[in-house]
Symmetry: C2
Subunit: 328 residues, 2 copies
């Protein structure tokens, strides 16, 4: 089925909500025969839509497929760039890997790689990220900011703000951010964000933002090893969450913050980030690749770098680390 | 011809310098018939080697092909990693593009992409870099330093030092470095270096170092538009330069400096860089993507960033720019 016919058809069903849409109306709108309409309906069924057909009334959608396909993501999407080009696959090694390849081949800004399942999803430092089928948001977004590479850390913080705002809007939950971009709900991790870039000394060629969100997992879904530190939006809210809506909201929030950032700089983003941050003004341990530093988290710089004051009053600039809050 | 037979045969010719090597000796060393030897010699001729055959004396190489093929580059190469894996092509769009793809596919550290000619060679900020056939060094080197991305600028300076040392050793010319990595001979540009990276906030995944050197161009080779600012090693030294030897020397110098850097840090590299730098301690204009700053170049930081003091005494940190020396 052509993608624009499919979209028009789905728009019609969405607009009439629970009402039936007659075969005649569909045939008029699409400008095709009743037989053609029937074929289009069959195609939708093959894609996983459950459609009820009632004589003299017409058709209506009883159940949408539990998918985040291009059709689902573009329907009702109100952005200019982010999500306007979707690369969707059922199962991938990692969306990040595909996005890197697409970026290299010249994919335009806002291109999103989405999968229902990742079999080799990775987080920071090659840590495993479990991405089971149809339960989460597993995606990578390509941006091309006209900026020098030393400003990339700001985009990491910006993304955390966009994700937190979207979760808040869709679920009502208000997550915390642990520097730089761990998104926590009741102290447990629900979101992983990985920002990678291709750059030279002058400017960023592309930033690939990987976002993994545990959405509809039940508590039994999590391995006993991570049960105490991981959670999902469903566990925290008690409700099934519409993944496509969550992703569309992330696209919209991200685009809005990104435009603000490109126009007016990091100031407002920094304030928004600080409003959600739980790791600032506390005693913490920062574990970096070269060692651990304990101290007082004074704040972040205008570049997005963490300022940590140790017991001797010496200030450390932390570019990346695992942060642990101390109980004192 | 198998690559190891070819290498052994070329080693024999190289070791006996201008002497003839008898067909019997070759047949003994390679463990093959005299007819097979004759076939191997024919294969070498097809590759562009000019071989003289004299009755009762044997064979000797009169002229090697003017190429920087894998055979030429690996013969007599004394490095552990850099140049041990060579990806050679006659004509490419850009070696940098191929190296990016290979890095993405997991190519190991030290892999080098070499071409005789680039038809779309690019420098910083997408500026055109002319790379005509058989006259220069057009290559990209893949490194995988276990370092965070903010240390990448140090590798840019390190590469400039390696290239300057190699040119010095092979040609006797002692070039200058204009911050960060413009290599100048008598004020004209002979080398372009472009450092690109793939990284996340924690660490560099790969650094792709593109090196373009004008080697054997005559002054007539340069377009009138760049004649006053560009030069070649041949123009400056008055001699034809062995490109393969120059590249091997770069591989060796780069590996040596890189090992020193990974073991002991940037200190020694910084001193070596400063010893060749012409832009420090002078009045300069730094043209960045966002504007120009005029001032006194105080030096470089331990991160490789340029410190520029303007007329009001304010210190600017320059991450990347075009530098022009002022006459005052």
């Amino acid at each position: 089925m052509q993608s624009d016919i499919r979209r028009t058809l789905l728009e019609m069903f969405t607009n009439s909500e629970d009402e039936y849409v007659s075969g005649q109306k569909i045939s008029d709108m699409l400008g095709c025969s009743r037989t053609a309409v029937w074929k289009h309906i069959e195609d939708l069924r093959k894609e996983g839509y459950e459609l009820e057909a009632v004589r003299k009334k017409g058709y209506r959608i009883v159940q949408k497929p539990n998918k985040v396909s291009e059709t689902e993501l573009r329907l009702g999407l109100h952005t200019d760039r982010i999500g306007q080009s979707i690369h969707y696959e059922e199962t991938v090694d990692s969306t990040q890997k595909i996005a890197h390849r697409l970026a290299q081949e010249g994919a335009k800004e806002g291109t999103v790689v989405v999968a229902e399942e990742q079999i080799a999803g990775r987080g920071r430092l090659d840590r495993v990220w479990y991405s089971p089928k149809h339960t989460g948001v597993w995606m990578s977004i390509i941006l091309r900011p006209p900026l020098p590479p030393q400003r990339a850390p700001q985009l990491t913080l910006l993304t955390a703000v966009a994700v937190v705002q979207a979760i808040q809007e869709v679920t009502g939950i208000s997550p915390d951010i642990k520097w730089p971009n761990d998104v926590l709900i009741n102290g447990k991790k629900a979101v992983g964000i990985l920002t990678e870039m291709q750059a030279d000394a002058d400017r960023i060629h592309s930033v690939i933002i990987g976002i993994g969100i545990n959405v509809n997992q039940n508590s039994g879904h999590f391995d006993s090893a991570i049960q105490d530190i991981a959670t999902s939006l469903k566990i925290e809210s008690g409700e099934d969450i519409n993944r496509a809506l969550l992703m569309q909201t992330i696209f919209a929030k991200l685009e809005q913050l990104y435009d603000e950032y490109l126009t007016n700089g990091f100031k407002l983003i920094k304030l928004l980030w600080e409003a959600h941050a739980v790791s600032i003004g506390k005693h913490i341990v920062a574990r970096t690749l070269t060692g651990s530093i304990e101290g007082f988290a004074k704040g972040i710089t205008d570049e997005g770098i963490l300022l940590l004051e140790d017991a001797y009053g010496q200030m450390h600039q932390i570019h990346s680390a695992d942060i642990e809050l101390m109980n004192r």
